[in-house]
Amino acid sequence: MFHYYLDLALRSLKRNKMLTALMVLAIALGIGASMTTLTVLHVLSGDPLPGRSAQLYYPQLDPQDMDGYREGGDPPAQVSWIDGMNLLRAKRADRQALMTGGAVPIQPAQASMEPFFEDARYTTADFFPMFDVPFLYGRGWGGADDEAKARVVVISRKLNDKLFGGKDSTGQTLRINDAAFRIVGVLDSWRPAPHFYDLNTGSYSDNEGVFVPLATSRDLKLSRNGSMDCWGKGSGGEDNLEAATCVWLQFWVRLDSPAKAAAYMDYLLHYSQEQKALGRFVRPPNVRLNDLMGWLDVNKVVPGDVRLQVWLAFGFLLVCLVNTVGLMLAKFLRRGPELGVRRALGASRHAVFAQLLVEAGTIGLAGGIAGLLLSLLGLWLVRKQPSDYAALAHLDVAMLLVTFLLALAASLLAGLLPAWRACQVTPALQLKSN
């Protein structure tokens, strides 16, 4: 029976090509726009480290003086050197890393290459195991290298391709800011989106090309990027940040169970009280321990424009659907005589309804496929945009499925009302009127 209905549907669609094209186009445009924007939103609000993010937490403390104090306010978004080092050395979490961003001049050994600047991350050793960073060659450095301010460096795959043609460069020397570093590891492709561990350097920026121990970066006075908030005495210059009353570092911990997270929260509170007793902190203890996704929420990393675009696209889809419902209704009602004949010859109301739904579904399927092609085109256009998340806009399997379900649901929804209305025909009346 389905074959027969399909045959009838195709005949009917062929009879009025312009109208069919119009309905298919309307659904395709609506689906294409919706899926493009939804995919961008999906990519941008995704989990940067699936399977790991639930165990990663971002502790916050409030070391500021009473200037500007408001009860219930948020603690600063970063930590100072002293607090960061204290928390790092306490080792109360399963893993912990203290870090900040920067940019360093790379001086290639090849005479043919001019020196260039590369984004860098200055961090402690746990960064790599804590975030499950994949390595192509070698590995990260150890805690001893942190202590020794060792001149070791981990580079990204991209930088390794640029400098060493993709070959295993571990053990080789890389000149950075007039100092010789030993390459200990080369990362595999790794681009968590959002750039969750430091949102100051761009929420969706590419990850850094160079990773250097934090202590080494301070020893060599490598230049620092990102935001810094000061109070009281302030910084007194880039060279004295260790003693500065400024927050400028990010501190991440991994806590493998909720119980450990609760214990860590207690520890932060206890630490704040202790610091207050010592006179270093003056505000009442104010601590936070967001998990990774919570931290992204707090910072509202997904641009407002992207959400606005999704609303806009779904509004557009709604108009396209209403349009299609109208056209389909007009078309089905016009076929009253034909349907009347079918009913008179014994087709049940049910059968006529099914027949019309098959026709609606066919349009939906065609619209869905065209819509999918349009969303591929749309995403390609998004990737041409200059924003730093542009390169991330790709359709994944989940969104592909959503597209098809949306197309099918939309067209069946669009077909439901017209089909129901049309199968209400009274056969006798339709036959008589001619």
């Binding site: 500007g68 100092a179 880039e238 959400r307 806009l312 509004g315 108009v319 056209l327 001619n434």
Partner: protein, 407 residues
């Protein structure tokens, strides 16, 4: 034209008529809001900077390794840059408009205040006002002896009183002391009491994270930068000379000290374009969606109109046979469309207002000005009339003889 017969016909096509109304209402609501949003973005892109945008270029250069004698290095660099033919001014600054990288500080009007009054940006560098081409509207520019080196300021916990002077923008003055002249007034930066000596028309802050309303909260301080703590060289030249000057400046800086990297050479116009690129893209996208919506709606009206005409061929034939003119038939369909469009527009206005309330709650947008409503209405009436014209003309062309034939 009598509209009663039209209404009675529409009553027999209730659902279809309702769908047309709904489509027009939705389109009207979305288009009104989208046009409003486009207007907002275009207005934002016109934001005044207060500097001579067509004449400025920025060259960013960073040293490799430790550089002894950064002050001497800086003076040599600037001397080399000023010698480039066509350069009318050159300086080294800590920040440049539209670069999204800024130095800010909370300022107070009373040192005992617990909360800072507001957060303003701070421009450092020699002759910032002259080089950027900001317009001094009251008071004076800094004198040579008022300048201090940035490193000195940072190390000293207190600025000597004779150096504690600042120029501010007119907007910041109006914000801090409404209705009064800011000249001679004091602001507090940390512990330092700083006297306002000059007022500039405008100088935009480099990053607008605090919202567009804070765009002109700017301080200019007599602080000299050097290659150790700043990397942004700003040069001023005639618009036609900029490309050449930029290339020459890169070469001159490299020649003066080969042990550094030239990071970026851009005109301020380029930098401004990049700063507003998201707004431009969004405005383009909104415009595209508006056009697509209007086209889809128009095509929908054409499609439905064609159906109705085909369905009513007999009826039209009978009317023509009974004496109705072609114009009567044409007007019938045009009036029908006008009626549907009007109901749709009225509903659409209410919906547009609702959408605007939602956007205001979620995206910090202002209220939709009433002027957008008639614009949306006229647009949809026009689209409706244009779309129905084809089918209506076809209806008018139906010959009276149709009445006598059985279909």
């Amino acid at each position: 034209m009598d509209i009663l017969p039209i209404l009675s016909t529409l009553r027999r096509h209730k659902i279809t008529a309702l769908l047309v109304i709904l489509e027009i209402a939705l389109t009207c609501a979305i288009v009104c809001n989208a046009v409003f949003l486009i207007g907002q973005r275009l207005e934002r892109m016109q934001m005044p900077s207060g500097v001579a945008e067509q004449e400025l270029v920025q060259v960013q250069a960073a040293s490799i390794g430790k550089q002894p004698g950064a002050n001497a290095r800086t003076q040599e660099d600037l001397a080399a840059l000023r010698q480039i033919p066509g350069v009318t001014a050159a300086t080294l600054v800590n920040e440049v408009p539209f670069t999204n990288s800024s130095w800010n500080s909370g300022i107070k009007l009373d040192p005992t205040q617990k909360q800072a009054t507001l957060n303003a940006t701070m421009y450092f560098g020699e002759n910032v006002v002259g080089t950027f081409g900001a317009r001094l509207i009251a008071g004076r520019d800094f004198q040579a002896e008022e300048y201090l080196d940035f490193d000195t300021v940072q190390k000293a916990q207190k600025v000597p009183p004779q150096n504690a002077v600042v120029m501010i923008t007119r907007a910041l003055g109006e914000k801090l002391w409404p209705g009064q002249s800011p000249l001679g007034k004091t602001v507090y930066l940390g512990e330092d009491a700083i006297r306002v000596v000059g007022l500039v028309e405008a100088l935009i802050r480099p990053a607008l994270f605090g919202g567009d309303a804070t765009a002109q909260w700017t301080l200019i301080l007599p602080v000299r930068m050097n290659t150790g703590n700043a990397s942004r060289y700003v040069l001023r030249a005639a618009p036609g000379e900029r490309e050449r000057v930029m290339a020459a400046a890169g070469a001159a800086l490299h020649k003066a000290d080969p042990h550094r990297v030239i990071l970026e050479k851009k005109t301020l116009e380029q930098i401004r374009r990049e700063f507003f690129q998201n707004d431009r893209a969004m405005a383009g996208l909104l415009a595209g969606v508006c056009v697509a919506l209007l086209v889809v709606t128009a095509l929908g009206i054409v499609g439905l109109g064609s159906f109705w005409v085909a369905q009513r061929r007999r009826q039209i034939g009978v009317r023509r046979a009974l004496g109705a003119t072609r114009a009567n038939i044409l007007h019938y369909f045009q009036t029908e469309n006008f009626l549907l469009a009007t109901i749709g527009i009225v509903l659409g206005m209410a919906l547009a207002y609702g959408i605007n309330l939602f956007l205001m709650a979620h995206y910090e947008l202002p209220r939709l000005p009433a002027v957008y409503f008639p614009v949306g209405a006229v647009a949809l009436w026009l689209i409706g009339q244009l779309a129905v014209l084809g089918p209506a003309l076809r209806a008018a062309a139906v010959p009276p003889v149709v009445a006598t034939r059985s279909v």
